[in-house]
């Protein structure tokens, strides 16, 4: 569960995130939808405790970002925008390294690794070095890394960006599964169609602020538009044209 209160981040004069409020419940898929540069990644980085908010705060499973960052980190699994893998380590070595960093014991860790390799269908390449992997393969290793400690809350930054159709599809299936397992899934995207199909609720972000929150049909009703795209254009304005639809 994520509760965000007036979260704000300024980089010098740039107001990347400005007083953002929203909640995401367990078993819920929450989407952060907005054009590139709207502040989605900054929000996720603050929730992951690697950026310190200028003001405001948030809590994950009741642990405050500012006061219990270690507990927040232990509670979340994060898929960063770029998978960020060590090219000279194998998929299995990645999972082992991160499992150990999360303080897992060896025997349960090895069991979990076997489980994840099966779940993510990585058996064929689990013991190969990551460097020459395709984007889809890399994304799976990164997902495995995010899941290693079986977190209740997941933060996914553009999880399907740059993937081919089949890989994107299998990643979307996995994300649905995380939600169905009762996890709280917060993911950012700039793809309207993806947000509409996957999300229980959507927060539309524009210039560091949330302009609307709700289920896709609520957003359509609020704006009196028949499609989410039209609703989005009305909420965000001409900037929507900058988006890759």
């Amino acid at each position: 569960m994520i509760e965000v209160q007036s979260l704000t981040k300024h980089f010098g004069k740039v107001h990347a995130v400005n007083g953002v409020n929203f909640n995401a419940r367990d078993g819920e898929m929450m989407g952060l939808l907005g054009p590139n540069g709207a502040g989605k990644t900054t929000i996720l980085r603050m929730l992951a405790t690697i950026l310190r908010p200028t003001s405001g705060t948030a809590a994950v499973d009741g642990h405050d970002l500012l006061h219990e960052p270690e507990k927040v980190r232990a509670a979340i699994g994060v898929l960063p925008e770029n998978w960020g893998l060590y090219g000279r380590l194998t998929a299995r070595e990645h999972l082992r390294y991160f499992g150990r960093l999360y303080g897992m014991d060896e025997a349960p860790l090895e069991r979990r690794i076997t489980e994840l390799i099966a779940l993510l269908e990585m058996g064929e390449y689990a013991d190969r070095r990551c460097d020459p992997f395709s984007k889809g393969m890399k994304q799976k290793v990164a997902l495995g890394r995010a899941l290693i400690h079986n977190p209740k809350t997941m933060l996914l930054d553009e999880p399907t960006a740059g993937l081919d159709v089949m890989s994107a599809r299998s990643v979307r299936d996995l994300i649905r599964r995380f939600r169905d397992e009762g996890r709280c899934v917060l993911f950012s995207t700039h793809i309207l169609d993806e947000a509409e199909r996957l999300c229980d609720r959507i927060a539309i972000i524009h210039r560091g602020q949330i302009v609307a929150v709700g289920a896709p049909e609520e957003l359509r009703r609020q704006t009196g538009q028949s499609t989410l795209e039209e609703a989005f254009v009305q909420l965000v304005g001409v900037d929507a044209e900058e988006m890759k639809l």
Binding site: E70, K71, G84, Y86, R88, L89, Y102, A142
Partner: protein, 397 residues
């Protein structure tokens, strides 16, 4: 502590799979060290000996004024006389490296016991071997002059020994080991300090700027592992490669000496190059805080860089900073500064390493170097940890 070990283990695995590190850490020190230390010395020695015994050509102008001297020169099997009126072109073309210009009536004047004109000895002293050859010609001229003196004294019925009231003999107190130690004390400290820096360099870049460039730093920092522990694990990996480079460099030196020493000792007669096990261990002890200090410094500096390339740009000047104090200790002869000098970073380390090879290292100096290096290393570590907590540094784009 467990996290430190986990991070160290992963970084070592990662670094050992990287060819660049292997070069900097293992092959570099193991191959280059003996080559750099032994080869120049051996070449110089060989060249020197060659010039001392080789047949040399002496160009002579005005030889007709000194038939006696010419006969004396020709009687020496290692001298070839080349008579010519134009000495300078000959010397420039390197047909000969030493020329003699004999004045008119030289031997006629000598016979009448009149002071003859000067013999001019020409040589181009910018050529290394010209000096050796000129010294040999000088000795020959002296011998010839002494012969004339002996003749004159004999003609007057005076005993020649009157001119040499006593004889001198020269004895070198230094043992062959000490003679070798002096050379090692000049060459090795710089290399040890340099390998301490270079050995850990690629690992340092890889675990900091490399992580940023590959975007792996973000997921790492999102784990509950404490940052101080993470950076300590990384530092430990850098120190490990640094020390590995130093150990390999020392070991390869010792092996090379075992193989090459007899030959060199025979060549010079009185110089032996050895590094005792005890010296090697003390050198390692002195090298440890250097590796620690460099490691911390490298991590702090490289963490600031956005990419591998940028980090390399920062670290290359660091090599010069290290080389300057090393060169100072190497080039100033018999430099014996006071105790406080041993507390100067890098400089002090070079001094104590030199003393160790000379066999003159004092316990107090050793302690000062160890203590001060540890303080600098601690400052470096604090700096590196601080860098690791700054989001401006971690997310500098």
């Amino acid at each position: 502590m467990k996290i430190v070990f986990i991070v160290w283990l992963k970084e070592m695995l990662d670094t050992l799979r990287d060819r660049r590190t292997l070069w900097a850490m293992i092959l570099g020190p193991a191959l280059i060290m003996p080559l750099f230390v032994i080869l120049p010395q051996k070449l110089m020695l060989d060249q020197f000996k060659k010039q001392e015994s080789a047949v040399i050509t002496v160009a002579v102008s005005g030889g007709e004024h000194a038939p006696g001297l010419m006969a004396f020169l020709r009687s020496d099997p290692t001298i070839e006389v080349l008579e010519s009126d134009a000495l300078e072109p000959l010397l420039r073309e390197e047909k000969a490296l030493v020329g003699l210009n004999i004045p008119e009536n030289f031997e006629a004047d000598l016979a009448q016991e009149k002071q003859p004109g000067q013999i001019v000895v020409l040589s181009d002293q910018s050529k290394m071997t010209a000096g050796v050859q000129m010294a040999r010609v000088e000795t020959l001229l002296m011998t010839y002059a002494q012969g004339i003196v002996a003749q004159r004294l004999a003609a007057r019925g005076v005993d020649v020994t009157l001119l040499a009231p006593f004889e001198t003999e020269y004895e070198n107190l230094a043992t062959p080991q000490q003679m070798g130690g002096a050379y090692l004390a000049m060459m090795l400290p710089m290399f040890i300090v340099l390998w301490g820096l270079i050995g850990g360099m690629y690992t340092a870049i890889d675990v900091t700027a490399g992580e940023k460039e590959r975007l792996t730093l973000e997921p790492l920092l999102m784990t509950p592992a404490g940052r101080t522990q993470v950076v300590s694990g990384k530092l430990l990996a850098v120190i490990t490669t640094s020390l590995a480079a130093i150990i390999l460099a020392l070991a390869s030196m010792m092996v090379a000496f075992m193989i090459a020493t007899p030959e060199m000792g025979a060549a010079d007669g009185a110089v032996t190059y050895t590094v005792s096990m005890q010296t090697a261990l003390l050198v390692l002890l002195a090298a440890f805080p250097i590796a620690l200090m460099f490691g911390a410094l490298e991590i702090a500096v490289c963490l600031f860089a956005r990419s591998f390339k940028e980090a390399q740009n920062y670290i290359v000047p660091l090599q010069f900073v290290v080389l300057i104090p090393a060169m100072a200790v190497m080039l100033i002869p018999d430099f014996t500064p006071g105790l406080p000098a041993y507390a100067i970073p890098i400089f002090g380390s070079n001094l104590i390493l030199r003393d160790l090879f000379l066999g003159t290292a004092g316990g107090l100096e050793f302690g000062v170097v160890l203590a001060s290096s540890l303080v600098y290393a601690a400052i470096g570590l604090v700096f590196a940890v601080w860098q690791f907590h700054r989001e401006q540094v971690l997310f500098r784009t």
